[in-house]
Every structure is written in structure tokens, then in C-alpha cells.
């Protein structure tokens, strides 16, 4: 089978990308960009003048060769033919991120804020480039058709997501896991084991086959499709049962991906709270990422917290597989095929999770940023810009409010800040952040303290580069994910699996929301 399609499509995609670059770089788009910026600074200026140039050249050159060249069956033909579909997804991601999502935001802002939320419609509905990219993918696959020349490349989307998850490890450090790890383990342990147990119990009450209940429990409890695939041989699930489970997870996950950010905005959840909730309550790794990015499209703090919870959940998988194996063997007396649980775990455990841990280990050594970096940023009060040293006016403002501070440690840290006109140490920085959160001082003083905090926090260039890579890998993967969500796959969720999955999913989402709101503070 020859995969390369002799079509001008990839060449045209390359020309469109180069046209975007040229019009942006030459200033021809400046009027439209000003309109999209709506009085603020347009966030994607640097991307617009670099990314479409590089990828446009590659796409145009490869496109000419695919269009006019001769192609023979083989590895080169198979792998090079994926470029067309990959560039197709990338072009959609570019258009949505740079133009369509900002345009929707402009329209939404012109409609004013919604009720008492103080937020615009697009913020509440999470209508950003991530959600719109997925929706565009769903529309293309269900209302049109993925063009033949793109079908092979669209299958790269999951590779993009997995690569993004591995690289996410570069943004974590031991300092962060020390704060988040314990809570995520307790929460995930409780909710994963609870979900699996609930599905198995409901499955018995509703008389669905043990194999169906087993595979559904893994999917609903752990991490969606990967867990389903891992648990299937243990409970000897039939392919239709795997399909039903994946369909249930998909339809539930898609719903969560859109509903979670809306609820999060309505409740005014912090990034950490929302990340913990999404990482616990949403089933599929990709959908966790989708919801987290939808909640905070231009930052990565929510995604990082959500992924910590998500990764913790994936790490529970071997325990669940062992549990299901024992459970299934006990219930199926007529079982004939012996299942080697250890082999199943070894064969099915997702290696990309180990890649994430490897990147985390590298990050912890300090090769990407100082080892004590927190959220990709690190403390250094020796390289503060002159304009960020506190002015006489700011010092006077802080002195006027200093009497309101009661705690001795906060008083001392504030005194050192006033004296040195910059945050004196990393401990003082933490103390002063606590002072801001306590809202003891006036808004003006808190604003000064926040400024002083930002002045001593620096983002490592390498970490920033990793963030950009991760953002694009996820954007790419999620547009492709949308192209794999067909109406047919959603219909597969019908019947008992959907009912059981819906009950368990809803209980997990509500209970985890309650726990997060009660236990997770703004900064943990």
C-alpha cells in the first residue's frame, strides 16, 4: 500500500503558512491584530512571525515533492506521508489559536460580563483555542470528512499528546512534588479505589458480565483508554466490551471537559483547586489536559497540577490490574485461560509515564533551572531590574500599613523588605506571600508586595522553551483528538455501561469537587 497521496494539499498548506508569516511580519496584518488585541498587547506576535515561517518552508518543500514526486511502498513512504495530516492539524491549531479564539473573545467582550460573575461569556464557557480546536476537529470528522491525504497524519495526534506529557516532567521539581504529592496520592487513592469498587458493585447489581464490569471499572477508575486496554486481557474482555467502555469514557470525558471549566469559573476556583479537581474527576489523560488548558489557556499552572494528579492516578494502574485479576479469577470459576498478571502489567504499563518521571528526575537535578525552582520559577534577589526596586512612595505605603500586621514573622519579613527595598530571602518571600493571601493590608500594599514577589522570581529560559513546546504539542494533539471523536463512537456508550459509567462518574466528580473545595487551599 502506497500512503503518499499525490495531492497539492500539503504544498497549499505550506503556502498558507508562509502567507500568514509574511502578512504578519510585514505589518499587513497589524490593523487586524490591533482589532484582536482589543486595546491590550496581542499575545501571539512572536509566534506569528516565526512558527509559520519554519513550518511553511517544510510543508511547501515536502508538499511539492509529495505532489510531483514518485512514491513507492515502504517505510519512507509510510512515515513521510504523515507530514500532510500533521501539517493539516497544525494549520488548524494556528488559525484557531491566533485568530478564531481571539475573535470570539472580542465578540464576547463586546457583549459585556455575564450576571454577577464579572466574567465574559467566552471565559465562562471556556471558549478558547483549546476547546475550539477540539470542536473544529469534531466538526471536520463528523460533518465533512478527513481528506484522504491527511488520514495517515491525523493518527499522529496521540503521539503529540504523549510527547507533551513526557516533557511536562521538565516543569516539575522535587520542591513542588513535596507539596502536591502527598495530597494527590491520598485523593487519587481514595477516588480510584472507590470508583473501581463502585463500578464492580453496580455491575453485579445490574447483572452485566464480569468482563464488562471489570474493564469498565478500570476505565472509570484509573485513566480512561490506557487503563481499559491494560485491564482488558486480565478480565478477558471482548472487543465490543472494550468499545463500549471506551465509548462511555469518551462521552463522559468530553462532557466533563466542557462542563468542568464552566463550574470552575462559576465557583471562582483557583488554578490549584481546579487542577486537583480535573486531575481527580476527569477520566482520560487528554481530556484532563483539555479541561486544564481550557480553564487557563495562557498559563500552565492548572495543567501542571492536573497532570500531577493524573500521573498519580496512572501510577495506581498496576494495583488495579492486580485487584481485577484476583476479583475476576474468583468470580469466573469456568476460567480456562491462565492470565499472568505480572506479564500483563509489564506489557501494558504506559512507558510514557516513565518518561515523565525521567524528565522530572532530570529537572530535579537542576540542569534546566536552579534545583529549587517552583512552578518553573526560581528565587534570586541579586538580579532585580532597577525599576523593580521599591520606590520611596511604595515604601511609605507599606510603612503606613505595617501596623496592621500582627504576626511576628510577617512583621520581620516586612521590615526587612522595607529596609532593603527588595525581598531579602526565599523564606521572606514565602512569608510575604502568606501576608498577601491573608488580606491583612490594603489593596495598594498587597499590590506592592505582589510586585516585590515577582521581582525576585525568575523564569529559566529553558523552562520557558519547554512550556512553549508543551503548549503546541497539546494544541496539536487535542485538535487531532477532536478528529477522532465520531458520533458513532459516542453512540457506543449507550445501554448499561453508559448508565453505570454516568452514575460513578457523576459521584466521583461531585465528591472530588467537595473534597477539593474543603481541603485544597490556593497555594497548598
Amino acid at each position: 500500500m502506497v500512503y503518499t497521496n499525490k495531492s497539492p494539499a500539503l504544498f497549499i498548506i505550506g503556502i498558507i503558512m508562509l502567507a500568514i508569516w509574511y502578512t504578519a511580519d510585514s505589518g499587513m496584518l497589524s490593523g487586524y491584530i490591533d482589532h484582536l488585541a482589543a486595546g491590550k498587547k496581542y499575545k501571539y506576535g512572536a509566534e506569528l512571525t516565526t512558527i509559520p515561517l519554519y513550518f511553511g518552508i517544510i510543508a511547501a518543500a515536502m508538499g511539492l515533492w509529495q505532489w510531483l514526486g514518485t512514491h513507492k511502498e515502504g517505510n519512507w513512504d509510510f512515515y513521510s506521508s504523515t507530514v500532510a495530516g500533521g501539517m493539516f492539524i497544525l494549520l488548524i491549531a494556528m488559525l484557531v489559536r491566533w485568530f478564531i479564539a481571539p475573535e470570539v473573545a472580542v465578540i464576547s467582550q463586546s457583549m459585556g460580563t455575564i450576571g454577577e460573575t464579572g466574567k465574559h461569556l467566552h471565559t465562562i464557557l471556556g471558549l478558547n483555542y483549546v476547546v475550539m480546536g477540539i470542536v473544529t476537529g469534531i466538526i471536520i470528522v463528523n460533518f465533512f470528512k478527513i481528506p484522504d491525504w491527511a488520514t495517515n497524519g491525523v493518527r499522529l495526534s496521540r503521539l503529540g499528546l504523549k510527547t507533551g506529557v513526557i516533557l511536562l516532567g521538565t516543569l516539575y521539581s522535587a520542591a513542588e512534588l513535596k507539596n502536591l504529592g502527598g495530597l494527590s496520592i491520598v485523593m487519587i487513592g481514595f477516588f480510584v479505589l472507590g470508583s473501581v469498587g463502585m463500578v464492580l458493585w453496580l455491575g453485579a447489581r445490574r447483572n452485566i458480565p464480569n468482563s464488562m464490569a471489570g474493564v469498565l471499572s478500570a476505565g472509570m477508575g484509573v485513566c480512561g483508554v490506557s487503563a481499559t486496554v491494560a485491564a482488558a486481557p486480565v478480565v478477558q474482555a471482548k472487543s465490543v466490551e472494550i468499545a463500549y467502555t471506551i465509548g462511555t469514557i469518551l462521552i463522559w470525558g468530553v462532557g466533563c471537559m466542557f462542563v468542568f471549566p464552566i463550574i470552575g469559573h462559576l465557583l471562582g476556583m483557583s488554578y490549584v483547586q481546579f487542577g486537583a479537581w480535573a486531575g481527580t474527576g476527569i477520566l482520560n489523560s487528554a481530556q484532563v489536559a483539555g479541561a486544564a488548558l481550557a480553564y487557563q489557556p495562557d498559563g500552565i499552572e492548572t495543567l501542571k497540577v492536573a497532570e500531577i494528579f493524573n500521573i498519580t492516578r496512572v501510577l495506581v494502574l498496576p494495583i488495579i490490574v492486580i485487584w481485577l485479576a484476583v476479583w475476576y479469577v474468583q468470580r469466573e470459576e469456568h476460567i480456562t485461560e491462565k492470565v499472568n498478571v505480572g506479564k500483563v502489567i509489564f506489557d501494558k504499563f504506559p512507558v510514557f509515564v516513565l518518561g515523565f518521571i525521567l524528565m522530572f528526575a532530570l529537572s530535579t537535578t537542576g540542569i534546566f533551572a536552579p534545583a529549587n525552582h517552583y512552578k518553573g520559577k526560581y528565587f534570586d534577589n541579586t538580579k532585580i531590574k532597577a525599576e523593580n526596586i521599591l520606590t520611596d512612595k511604595q515604601v511609605a505605603q507599606l510603612q503606613a500599613d505595617a501596623g496592621k500586621v500582627q504576626r511576628e514573622d510577617r512583621k520581620a519579613a516586612l521590615a526587612r523588605l522595607i529596609e532593603g527595598r527588595k525581598v531579602a530571602s526565599i523564606d521572606d518571600d514565602a512569608t510575604l506571600r502568606g501576608l498577601v493571601n491573608a488580606k491583612v493590608m490594603s489593596k495598594d500594599s498587597n499590590k506592592i508586595l505582589k510586585g516585590a514577589h515577582k521581582a525576585v522570581r525568575h523564569t529559566a529560559k529553558k523552562v520557558k522553551a519547554f512550556r512553549d513546546w508543551i503548549t503546541w504539542l497539546f494544541a496539536f494533539g487535542l485538535v487531532g483528538l477532536g478528529m477522532q471523536i465520531t458520533v458513532g463512537s459516542m453512540k457506543q456508550a449507550g445501554g448499561q455501561p453508559a448508565v453505570i459509567g454516568g452514575i460513578v462518574g457523576a459521584v466521583k466528580a461531585v465528591l472530588s469537587l467537595v473534597v477539593v473545595m474543603m481541603l485544597v487551599s490556593e497555594t497548598i
Binding site: 504523515t82 470528522v141 478527513i146 493518527r155 516533557l167 518518561g355 463512537s489
Partner: protein, 40 residues
């Protein structure tokens, strides 16, 4: 994308198995890491 019309890989991936896709993701991630490490 629901049925597999390819003679290589699956409906959702160009790779024949999840394990192979995981390893390729690892290779790409390491390549990006090396690039970022020496470029920034």
C-alpha cells in the same frame, strides 16, 4: 476514524502497539530536551 483502513498501525495511531508509540514519544521528548538544553 472508527474503523482501521490502514495496513500498518491502528485506527488511532501509526504505530503497531501502544508500547512502540510510547517509546517514539520518549525519543521525540528526549530530542526536544537536547535541543532546548543546547539552544537556550
Amino acid at each position: 476514524m472508527s474503523e482501521n483502513k490502514f495496513d500498518r498501525g491502528s485506527a488511532l495511531s501509526i504505530f503497531g502497539s501502544d508500547r512502540r508509540e510510547d517509546f517514539m514519544a520518549l525519543v521525540f521528548a528526549l530530542a526536544i530536551t537536547v535541543f532546548v538544553y543546547f539552544s537556550y
